[in-house]
Amino acid sequence: MGLMDQVELPQPVKYVFNWGRKYSLWCFNFGLACCAIEFIAASTSRHDFIRHGVIPFAHGPRQADLLVVSGTLTDKMAPSVKRLYEEMPEPKYVISFGSCANCGGPYWDSYSVTKGVDQIIPVDVYVPGCPPRPEALLDGIIALQDRIQGESLKDRIAGRRLDPITLGADAPLAIEGATGGASGGPT
């Protein structure tokens, strides 16, 4: 990216640049368990996150901007997630979707489940719920887009990340009752 990771863009350029980026998120879906079904529901016509500019099912990690880990990550699978994440080009974002991806969920005491995807890759937005409703994913996407809009591309490309957003905890929910299920409702 040459200059971009050394020089801060002037504000108007930054605005247009980020505006373009936030509505063109190619999404790489890591569907691992039940939550993947909710992800698919969010991509279909009823909830339709394409209208928010998220393009599902990128052809591969090298074309993707956003990784959505939805489902139970096992120790056996963890190396693959890490590797595919590393194949994505910067700037890249991660949404951890569902309790399993956040912290192990109902399998917190299992012998084989990784206690959260953040143990292996940095996460930008946590969406709580088991499973979260599709609206919760939309909520997470909107929160991420807000962040991208205000972001300094220089920092991002240099790998400096802001603290992650946890939906329902430190970010107000845009959609009423968006998260559901056992492990995290709106506060």
Binding site: K76, D109, S110, Y111, S112
Partner: protein, 346 residues
């Protein structure tokens, strides 16, 4: 290969199957059960391979499809291996079950991959989860279900869940945490307090036994006895009017109502009283029949035996009832006393 004789309309019954395999393997077959419509044949570990080979190759059995293979933790006794076979020509399904050699420390079992190729991954998974070594398997390592360097055998009952050692189970969802009145025992979770599945299982089994034993005991005995005894006919002749009788003992019922008990309680106690009375009557009838029948009647001996057994049971029951009555209310004590007296008379 010659023509397969097995057909759906000639499918062998479990008994015939067992007989056939016993003929071939002798002591290699140690027993059989039919539970939940599943025929399980218990095989000695030494005959495991031979039994599977017979099941496939015997023309009347023709178990040509390997369905499943799994391990079972048999606690102190070690581990079991269960293989499920299916026959596409007869539609029969069979479970072969064996107890591994080597106890808990070093369980080994013969591999049946040379008979059924499909057993390959199943045996690897059983190795992964239970650490049962399959002799003759082409290669159990590397592990396929867990990470390659995983240590321990996660489906063994004594496997420790490290997460639970670091952080106790946050709820009181397990039945083992109820006291005898069914109330939740308040427990302050503390670090290191980690009920493994093994201890929990044991506690739950003991508790279920304690809760269920008396009721199940009485009801089943009451229902089974006429059929199970050798002199079923005599017994039912004795009280042929059984169907016409009310479903509970009117006398006891009236007395309890008069004493101000609720109808539900009175009814259930009266029911128990009736069952006891009926049993006593049946025992009396048997005794009479036994006396009537001459020495040449082979049923007489059986009837006498059944009668003896029944008396012993009645005594035991009376004793149990008396024990229970000690911490029950007075009525129950009276009840038990009454019926115990009646049984004693019989």
């Amino acid at each position: 290969m010659t023509e397969v004789l097995a057909r759906r309309d000639r499918a062998l019954t479990p008994e015939e199957t067992e007989k056939l395999l016993r003929d071939r393997l002798g002591d290699g077959i140690t027993g059989s059960t039919v539970e939940f419509a599943t025929f399980t044949l218990h095989v000695a570990p030494g005959s495991w391979h031979a039994a599977a080979a017979l099941c496939r190759d015997e023309q009347l059995l023709a178990y040509d499809m390997f369905d499943n293979l799994l391990g079972v933790d048999a606690r102190e006794d070690g581990f079991d291996v269960v293989a499920v076979l299916y026959s596409t020509s007869t539609g029969n399904r069979i479970c072969l079950r064996t107890r591994c050699d080597g106890g808990r420390d070093n369980p080994v079992c013969d591999s049946i991959t040379d008979i059924y190729r499909g057993a390959d991954w199943m045996e690897r998974e059983t190795w992964d989860m239970f650490g049962i070594e399959f002799v003759g398997h082409p290669g159990l390592e590397p592990r396929i279900l867990t990470v390659e360097n995983f240590e321990g055998w996660p489906l063994r009952k004594d496997f420790h869940l490290t997460s639970r050692v670091a952080k106790p189970w946050p709820g009181v969802a397990e039945p083992a945490e109820l006291d005898e009145d069914g109330q939740v025992i308040e427990r302050v979770p503390k670090i290191g307090d980690a009920p493994g599945p093994y201890d929990l299982d044991k506690a739950m089994a003991a508790q279920a036994k304690a809760i269920n034993a008396p009721e199940v005991d009485e009801l089943e005995e009451g229902a089974d006895e006429p059929e199970s005894s050798g002199s079923a006919d005599d017994g039912s002749d004795g009280d042929g009017s059984a169907e016409a009788e009310p479903e509970f003992d009117q006398e006891t019922f009236d007395r309890l109502i008069a004493e101000g008990k609720s109808e539900r309680i009175a009814r259930s106690k009266a029911k128990a009283a009736l069952i006891k009375k009926k049993r006593a009557a049946a025992a009396a009838g048997d005794a009479a029949a036994g006396a009537d029948a001459g020495d040449d009647d082979p049923a007489a001996a059986a009837a006498a035996k059944a009668d003896e057994r029944r008396k012993a049971q009645a005594e035991a029951r009376a004793k149990k009832a008396a024990e229970r009555a000690a911490d029950d209310d007075e009525d129950a004590a009276n009840d038990a006393g009454d019926s115990a007296a009646q049984e004693g008379d019989a």
